[in-house]
């Protein structure tokens, strides 16, 4: 809602306070001011009024909040002369037929108005609050709405047939042309204001065209009524109409505010349109509601707010908000909210008022109740993720004892590793030492499965190994993930002959786990010197950040022979603690490339002993005209190559991000790659057989 600061200043003494002060106070009290705009003296506050505070859908309600916030008095408004006498001079005959949907209906008659434009100050005030000026009579009713928050309606009294007002449900199929010129079909669930023969307004939502104020209007019937929120809401929904009036009636209006709204309306009609109020007010109010008194226990205030504001502060806070306080037995207070606070229904609502008035920053921060659980142990979490990843890759989870036989794990720890930790009272010799590697147990399990006739064995275990520490009597317990793999390298299917698992299958599984646990780390492979692994078909994965985090490959043929393994078994072990010691890369989005990638295939001949890693290192050393990656796409040995030579085709993929690459740029880069490969890796480009360049 747009609120004029100057208007507020007419309603409450804000001497010495600015719009900004008012905005800050309102925001702190739960009526958030989204912005303050306008020049000094004509500031407008954009107020976000919560759904439970319809009383603040008018300047008066906002002024009341400021009055409470700053302990400033509300300023009296000039009131029109009292209107004693018979009901609206006996001219209007008013009856509520649907009392359940309209608890109160008041009307006054203002005679002899001259419909015309409003003065400039009224137009400006309406525009500041987001409304357009229509004519002085309609403007008067809008000013009432904006000031009191109470929607009123002005009828052209001459067009109300028989001078009768009936507040009733619409008949089936009954129609009305509303102010927006639309003919609407109503029904029994719609409450209407009707005259003797037809509906003249949809109650609480929109007036009818027939009784609209026009240039010829002389006598105005002013309606100020209370309508049932649920009924207004469903009618507004049904008709697809959301009006300033329905917005307020849906949320609930002050049942006693109708009189003040009437008074203001009459005063404005006299002032702006030159009318004269006929004596007498019609007030149909069949069953006035008794004031709602609530019990408030000081103990409850303390329990809910988490601090004790004290009884005096509690009483003061409530009193300033217009809540009448009496003492109740047992130290409790009996609080009677003002009629405009339709939201105060229970004890907890009053507690909120106290807390709100005193300020939420006074509520202490109790550490215990908002205590975050300690973060899960990263290593334990890594173990779980390793299990999930490996099971997802097709491995079965094995469990092995943390104990093994003396010397059993020597082949899988480095020559310089500390010795096994010895159990002083082992249960059996095979379980006499604490393990330093999970691989011996997995090998035993693989062997047993193979002996049972399993064709494919894929096992993993995640568990701790125990390494002796010099400085500490407690061993270094390191979580490890181990895998053992025998049989096919990919799922078996009748459509293809099974391919036996090889080093590259194993490396793929290892690197998938490394990437799953710590993404974005660049791992380099070098040959492993563990005595249990094939010296030329095994690797250690290491990175500058983490060091050696994994190792594995084919078993050393000597070990395989001594274990009596007839089927080749590949093994790998990942040290999760080492892996987690590296800083992983945050996964961040990069814009997708918009330009076409350029690819070139280069076929190199490598002689015996020359390796892919050296070749790609040489290629990476060449300055590229765009971000580049390399993929090995083909490898070939045999005629016409010499013995020990291999041909390796590397696909070079350039992905420009800023400008399309030109042919000379690409050609220059390609020549640079060929030269570097030859110079640094001893790889020569394959002559006439180079595949055609393609994009």
């Amino acid at each position: 809602m747009l609120v004029s600061f100057a208007w507020l200043e007419e309603l409450v003494d804000l001497d010495g306070l600015g719009a900004r002060d008012a905005a800050d106070a309102l925001t702190a009290r739960g009526l958030t001011v989204d912005s303050v705009s306008g020049a000094a003296g004509s500031e407008v506050l954009d107020l976000d009024v919560p759904a439970n505070r319809p009383d603040c859908l008018g300047h008066l309600g906002v002024a009341r909040e400021l009055s409470a916030a700053f302990s400033r008095p509300l300023l009296p408004r000039p009131t029109p002369p009292p209107a004693p006498g018979p009901a609206a001079a006996g001219a209007a005959d008013i009856e509520i037929e649907a009392e359940d949907l309209c608890p109160r209906y008041t009307a006054r008659l203002v005679r002899g108005v001259r419909v015309g434009p409003s003065p400039a100050r009224v137009v400006a005030r309406l525009e500041a609050c987001g409304l357009r000026s229509v004519n002085n009579v309609v403007d008067a009713s809008n000013l009432v709405l904006l000031e009191t928050g109470h929607p009123i309606h002005a009828f052209d009294f001459a067009r109300i047939e028989g001078g009768e007002i009936r507040v009733r449900r619409a008949g089936p199929g009954e129609t009305i042309e509303t102010l927006d010129g639309v003919l609407r079909t109503l029904g029994p669930e719609v409450l209407v204001i009707a005259d003797r023969t037809r509906p003249v307004a949809v109650a609480g939502v929109l007036g009818g065209a027939a009784t609209e104020i026009r240039a010829s209007t002389r006598d105005v019937l002013v309606e100020a009524a209370v309508f049932d929120p649920g009924s207004v809401r469903s009618t507004a929904r049904r008709l697809g109409l959301a009006t300033d009036a329905s917005h307020r009636f849906e949320r609930g209006v002050d049942p006693d505010g109708v009189l003040a709204a009437q008074d203001l309306a009459v005063r404005l009609l006299e002032e702006l349109a030159g009318g004269a109020a006929a004596p007498g007010l019609v007030d149909v109010h069949p069953r006035p509601a008794a004031p709602r008194a609530l019990h408030l226990r000081p103990e409850r205030v303390r329990r809910l707010l988490g601090y004790d504001p004290g009884l005096d502060a509690t009483r003061d806070a409530l009193a300033r908000l217009g809540i009448r306080i009496q003492d109740a037995p047992g130290g409790a207070l009996l609080a009677t909210p003002p009629t405009w606070r339709v939201d105060l229904l229970r004890e907890a609502d009053l507690v909120e008022e106290v807390g709100r008035h005193l300020g939420y920053d006074r509520i202490p921060v109790a550490a215990a109740s908002a205590r975050l659980s300690p973060l899960p142990d990263r290593l334990v979490e890594a173990e779980e993720r390793a299990r999930t990843a490996l099971a997802g890759l097709g491995f079965h989870e094995a469990f092995n004892y943390a104990m093994n036989a003396a010397g059993e794990d020597d082949a899988f720890v480095g020559a310089s590793a500390p010795g096994q930790i010895v159990l002083t009272n082992p249960i059996a010799e095979p379980l006499a030492r604490l393990r330093r590697s999970v691989l011996p147990g997995l090998l035993r399990a693989a062997d047993r499965n193979l002996r049972h006739g399993a064709e494919d064995v894929r096992l993993f275990e995640v568990g701790r190994v125990f390494l002796r520490r010099e400085a500490d009597t407690f061993p270094d317990e390191r979580p490890r993930a181990g895998i053992a793999w025998a049989g096919a390298g990919e799922p078996r299917h009748f459509s293809a002959r099974p391919r036996p698992v090889d080093f590259f299958d194993l490396a793929g599984a290892v690197e998938t786990v490394l990437e799953a646990l710590q993404p974005g780390i660049a791992w380099a492979r070098r040959r492993s010197d563990l005595s249990g692994l094939h010296p030329r078909r095994s690797a250690v994965w290491s990175s500058a950040a983490a060091g050696d985090a994994a190792w594995g490959g084919e078993l050393h043929p000597d070990l395989a022979a001594s274990l009596g393994l007839e089927t080749p078994v590949l093994v790998a072990e990942i040290d999760l603690a080492t892996l987690l010691s590296a800083e992983a890369e945050e996964r961040a989005h990069a814009p997708l490339p918009r330009l076409p990638a350029v690819t070139r295939d280069l076929s190199f001949v490598l002689s015996a002993g020359q390796e892919y890693a050296a070749l790609t290192a040489a290629l990476r050393g060449v300055a590229a005209p765009a971000p580049v990656r390399f993929e090995a796409v083909d490898r070939y040995e045999g005629s016409p190559l010499a013995e020990g030579e291999s041909s390796l085709t590397v696909r070079v993929i350039l992905q420009p991000s800023e400008a399309t690459l030109t042919d000379p740029e690409v050609e220059r880069y390609r020549s640079g790659l060929i030269a570097a490969a030859e110079r640094e890796a001893g790889a020569r480009i394959r002559g006439g057989t180079e595949p055609p360049m393609g994009e």
Binding site: G394, A398, G463
Partner: protein, 341 residues
């Protein structure tokens, strides 16, 4: 001119008919009539030399015929392509009953699955999951748990010792001690993990898995313990599970108890799994002994707490109907593969 148009139309229709839906023959017809050196082009060239008066009528007829031929050729080509696709469909059938190419599916050990399920319930209850070393010292495994040296209850657990005076933890309770040493109440934690006892027979393995729960706060009572155990097993086994508590002795709790749940195998009538009693003994429980609080420096006047334990292997066996404990450590893929991840 018009005679030629009629002739061309006749010949085109004959030619298209004799192509008989053969794509090559249809293309030949198209070239003959519509190609750059085709009949229509020839006619078009003659059209240029017609007297102006004849041009409008001739042009109209010429265009009409050209459109007709183009349409007919396009329709014939489309029909031929459709016939070819029908033939390919007829020839390219698969035996869809043959085995699928299925990616590998690994498995998680039944003990892991059960542990995760239990942890999940405790996490939902607001507990943290803690871990600690498997090689422990005497203080954390015994003394802090009100088991001073020479305490008779130490005989009950056969402990593995390692060189240097350390031991393999006989229960996960030392993690409770370490957690209470590291953090102040309120504490709500569980500690699952491997534990070791020097025991090996048909119903005992030297390594198995425990989970213990610990809650320490102001105002914690036996009622909270019962409520928590009740909630845990109702969530795990279902709402129809019955739970009973019997007084029991553990040095680190006072009052102490053991708790049983109605047998999930026989429903309580009595079977091999419950040794005919209708009840499964799941573990011990009780209120944290003041001596334990003293050992970790927690004010036993201000705080109270409960703890209870369970054997994960046992629960996994009941859960999955596993009748032989040794299967859990044999790593037989035929067994493991029954628990796909």
């Amino acid at each position: 001119m018009f005679r030629d148009l009629e002739r061309i139309e006749r010949e085109f229709e004959a030619g298209l008919a004799s192509a008989a839906g053969d794509p090559g023959a249809i293309e030949a017809v198209r070239v003959r009539f519509l190609g750059r050196k085709g009949e229509m082009q020839a006619l078009l060239r003659r059209f240029a030399s017609l007297p102006p008066a004849e041009k409008p009528a001739a042009g109209k007829a010429l265009n009409a015929l050209k459109t007709r031929i183009e349409t007919a050729v396009a329709e014939a080509s489309a029909a031929a392509a459709a016939v070819r696709r029908r033939a390919e469909i007829a020839a390219g059938g698969l035996d869809v009953g043959l085995p699928a190419r299925t990616p590998w599916r690994g498995s998680l050990h039944p003990v892991t699955r059960t542990r995760r399920e239990l942890e999940r319930i405790f996490r939902d209850l607001g507990y943290t999951v803690e871990s600690g070393p498997e090689v422990e010292d005497d203080f954390h495994n015994f003394q802090a748990l009100n088991l001073p040296p020479n305490h008779p209850a130490r005989d009950a657990t056969d402990t593995f010792y390692v060189e240097g005076g350390l031991l393999l933890r006989t229960h996960t309770s030392p993690v409770q001690i370490r957690t209470m040493q590291a953090r102040r109440p309120p504490i709500r934690m569980v500690c699952p993990g491997r534990v070791y006892r020097r025991d090996l027979d048909a119903t005992h393995l030297p390594m198995f898995h425990q989970l213990e729960a610990l809650v320490v706060d102001e105002g914690i009572s036996m009622a909270d313990l019962k409520g928590t155990i009740d909630a845990l097993w109702k969530r795990f086994f279902g709402d129809d599970v019955r739970i009973r508590f019997r007084p029991g002795y553990f040095p680190f709790v006072e009052p102490g108890c053991e708790y049983d749940v109605s047998c999930r195998v026989c429903g309580g009538r009595g079977c091999r799994a419950c040794k005919g009693t209708g009840w499964l003994e799941l573990g011990g429980a009780g209120m944290v002994h003041p001596a334990v609080f003293e050992a970790v420096g927690i004010d036993a006047e201000r705080y109270t707490g409960f703890a209870f334990g369970l054997g994960i292997d046992r629960i996994a066996m009941v859960r999955h109907g596993i009748d032989d404990l040794r299967l859990l450590m044999e790593n037989d893929i035929r067994f493991l593969a029954r628990f796909p991840a």
